[in-house]
Structures are given as C-alpha cells and as structure tokens.
Symmetry: C2
Subunit: 306 residues, 2 copies
C-alpha cells in the first residue's frame, strides 16, 4: 500500500469519512478543493468564515456549497479560533488554511486553549508521487523550519516516519541529503547526516532506516547507486524520506521537481494533535485535494494510535 496517490485514495475510501475545518472560508481555491474532496467522497468540510462572502465567491465560480455546514464568523482571528476549536474538540478531524496569512493561521494552531499543540515540534511533509517511480517520496522540511539543528532533524524524522506509517509505508528508509555521499568535515551537513545514521544504529531513532550522507542520485535512483558501486549501503536509490539540509535546499528542490517533472503531490503540517493542511496560494486545486487525502489518512492513524 501507499505506493501512489491512487492507492491512497482507495485507502481513504475504506475508512470512515473525515471532516476538515476550514479556517476563513472565503477563498475560491479552497472552496473548489473541499467541493472536489466531498464529490470524490474523500472528506466533508465545515466552512468557518464570512458566510456571505463565502457564498458570493461560490456563486461566482459556479460551485454549490449548500450541503456544507457553515459557521458565520466575520473577524479573521475569531474565525481561526472557532475553526481550530472544532478540531480541538473533536468535531472535525483536520484543520485547513483558507484566506488567512500563514502567521495568523499558525497562531491559531499554536493557541494554548483551543489549538492543536502537543509536546512535539512542528514540521512540514510533502508527499510526492513522481512519474517513473514506483513509490511515494516524503520530502521534509521544504517549507516550515528554516535551519534545523541536529536535534530538530531527529524530530523531523520522527514526525515524518509517523506520516509514512499512516500512509502504509512501514520502516521507511531515510536519506539525509547532501551534495556528496561521503563525510567531509568541511561540510557540516555531511557530519550531521552521519551522526543521524549512527543515532539510528544506536537505537536513538527508531521505526526507520537512516543512511547518510546521501547525494540525491544515490537516494532516489537505483541505477546510479549501482553505477557508483554503493552496494554496501542500506539505501540503494530506494529512499522513502528525503531529509534536506535546510529550507533553501529543500524548497528549491521541491519546486524544481514540481515545475519540471510529472507528478502528483500533497503537503501536510505535522507534530500537531490533528493533521493540518497548510498549502500555499500557488498550489493547485489538486494539491489541496491531495493534501486532504493525506490528512484524512493521518487523522485515521492518529485515532487508532492514541
């Protein structure tokens, strides 16, 4: 399971339908996405925001939203707290960003009373289903943590391993990426990657196999691994989790693939008490729907593994 988005969608169909609480619903792209998600029986939604504006936008783009539950809150901050509280109280299963800036949205996620805080660090995971590859790839962190420390990277791995498991990818292979596949003291990234590998061997990072440092070709291309004679390494071009050195390398690689390859992808924020869909303006409707697919499976997993 979990080898493609098609399989994830089948998996979603087999679990009880989840509900997403939309934070500030007067946003055409989000309205389109929740409509598509409901039509495809992926998830239902509660629209929290300016009800009048939300209806006007839906009318304008010719989308019927009369079958969605709506909670009318004009003020953006109040709407965000109302929406996140639905998830906090278990009335919705996941939380999705609408027409609110990322800062305000995260503020509601982290609200001490009605938010989705846990003891865990937050991190972002992007799930790629790239044409030509027979598995999903989990890219992290390409959007949230600017310069993760070694400790942060351990937490990123833990968060992402959980997402993998939720999607049916067990004991994932983790590739801490660098420009090269050997440790070079002049490149601190490679030293940290080796340390993550050692921590995994010592049982300090569990539920996965960590092999680093790895160059991108050794991480994703079995042919390159064979050609470079890396036959003694745990990862042979078959990494599941791609761990980036920092947000620049992660974000640039993420967008490089999105804008040049054929692929399907969905993104999620994790480390929270419930899955959070934090897509960006420039993400397509499909990316938003796919993110709801991922969030639904993670919500189900969290429910069963409390």
């Amino acid at each position: 399971m979990g080898k493609s988005f098609d399989e994830l969608i089948k998996k979603v169909a087999a679990i009880p339908m989840k509900k997403v609480a939309v934070c500030v619903s007067q946003d055409s792209a989000v309205i389109e996405a929740v409509r598509a998600a409901k039509d495809r029986k992926i998830a239902d939604a509660i629209l929290v925001g300016d009800a009048k504006k939300t209806k006007a936008i839906a009318d304008e783009i010719g989308i019927d939203i009369s079958d969605f539950e709506m909670i009318d809150v004009e003020d953006v901050v109040e709407a965000s707290l109302t929406a996140v509280k639905l998830v906090h109280d278990g009335k919705a299963d996941m939380y999705m960003k609408g027409l609110i800036d990322t800062k305000g949205f995260l503020k509601s996620v982290l609200d001490k009373e009605v938010g989705l805080r846990t003891g865990k660090m937050l991190s972002h995971v992007c799930v790629f289903d790239i044409k030509g590859y027979d598995r999903l790839m989990f890219l992290t962190d390409v959007a949230f943590l600017p310069y993760p420390t070694l400790e942060d990277k351990v937490n990123i791995i833990k968060n992402t391993v959980e997402i993998c498991e939720a999607l049916g990818v067990n004991n994932p292979k983790v590739a801490p990426l660098a420009a090269v596949e050997v440790v070079n003291p002049k490149m601190p990234v490679t030293v940290e990657a080796e340390e993550l590998h050692q921590m995994n061997l010592r049982g300090e990072i569990t539920g996965c196999i960590v092999d680093g440092p790895l160059s991108m070709d050794l991480a994703i291309d079995p042919e390159a691994a064979k050609h470079k004679g890396a036959t003694d390494r745990p990862i042979q071009g078959d990494a599941d989790i791609l761990l980036f050195p920092d947000i620049h390398s992660g974000n640039i690689a993420y967008k490089s693939i999105v804008h040049t390859a054929e692929l399907v992808n969905g993104n999620i924020l994790t480390g929270t008490a419930a899955p959070v869909v934090l897509t960006s303006r420039s993400d397509s409707m499909e990316v938003k729907v796919n993110s709801i697919v991922v969030a639904s499976l993670v919500a189900e997993y969290m429910k069963n593994n409390k």
Copy 2:
C-alpha cells in the same frame, strides 16, 4: 539562438571544428563520447593515455578509434600534464577528464607551467534544456564551489554570463535562489541575494540582469510569477542563470531535475584559459557529448574575444 541543444549543435556545425585533449583516455565512457562527437562532426579528439589499454577498451566495446591522434603516456600524472599542455599550447581547444580522479585532473588544470590558470576563479556551469521550457537554463554552482561567499558569487555570475554569451544568450537574467522571494535578515542567503541585485543596479555586475532573492517558481515559471503577483520584478519566471546558495542546494536540485524530468544537459568548468569538460562517472554518454558541444562553442567564443 541558444534556446535548445539542437540549436547549439547547429551552431557548432557552423564554426571551425574544435579539438578536445582527453586526459587519461583508457575510459570506455569517454571513448564512446569522443567517437560520437566526431561522428556527429561536433569535435575531434587527441587521446592522451595508455595507448595499449585505450585500444583494448575500444576493441572490447566495438569502437574504432584508428582515426584519432593518440599520445602514449602510461603514467597518469604525466598523461594529464601532457594532455593539458596540448590545450595550453593551442594544439587542442579544450580539455576533458578521462580515467583520472577529479583531484588529479584539477591539479593539471591548475599547473603553473602547462595548465589553464587565468586570474579568474574557477566555477562549474550546468546547461539544462528541460522539456516544456523554451530556453536553456544555466545552473551554478552545483559541483565545484562548496560554500561561495558574496564575492565568489559575483565571480560565479561573471563566469556564467560569459558562457551564456558564448552560447548566444545575451544579457541573461540571473536568479539568486532562496526558499523565499523576500529579504529576511534571519536568512543570510536572502540578504546576499538582495546585495547581488543592488550591485547589478550600481553597475558592479554587468552584462546581465540580477533579481534576487527569488524562489524557484518565480525564477522558472511565468505562471507562478503571475499568480504571486510579482509583476514589478525584472524576472518573471524567465531566469536564464540559476544561482544556488551553496553546493548542497545546487547539487540536490540538479540531481532532482536530472532524475525526475525529461531533459538534455551538458556541463562545463569555467574560469580557465580554455573550456574544461569535467563530467562525472555517473553522467551518461549523451551528457559527455553535450558537454563537448558547450565546450566547443565556448572555445570559439574565447578565440574571438581574446
């Protein structure tokens, strides 16, 4: 001109045929590449290395090399100095790595007596012709300089602008990449990118348009630029040169694209007195031939712009 490798190959056909000096020629991938380059009338080659071994390898892979000039030098270091001297003395136009490690190869490039030193800093340029894009993209530096300083980045831009001009891309648009497109003091990469932009405005970097910081989507995708409302910026998804923050981000993005998109590419080392082809083991024969295409045009340009 210069919009695709097909056009570059036509351009090569219109200039006097160049000659590549191969450094340690007993390498099957390199023999295949120079054979293909000669057959396609792209470039001739002088094979410097162990002549007996070189012939044996050629026989083994069924390639006739009897029409190539060969210089028999068994010792690797001696062979490298002999080969680079051919370029230094103008008997060959460009220099190509064969069965020698990168360190030994670069040592010959930098040799004070017979090498290809100039006052310039060396940098690596990778030329991409990606399916779906109507122009060439120049990625730098994805392989040579680990952590370029601001000054290094200025030199990288200068080197790469020259390569663009040699390939018919005049006044190229340079995108200093980052995870975000706004300056954030907490992300030094964005501050440096803005400084490069200012240096360009002040006339300290010429022959190009520098606009930074830029995220990858704003750099290469006009739709994303439109969607994000970045209509006042000099670069609107139409960057020619992609300048990476460091070798990790560059190398990971480079390999991400190579291993997931459909593309044609060739790589070159520049800042030298003559073009240097420094491809890696895992590069395909086509990449090696394309690198000779790029090197030939750069050699012609250097000759005309001495």
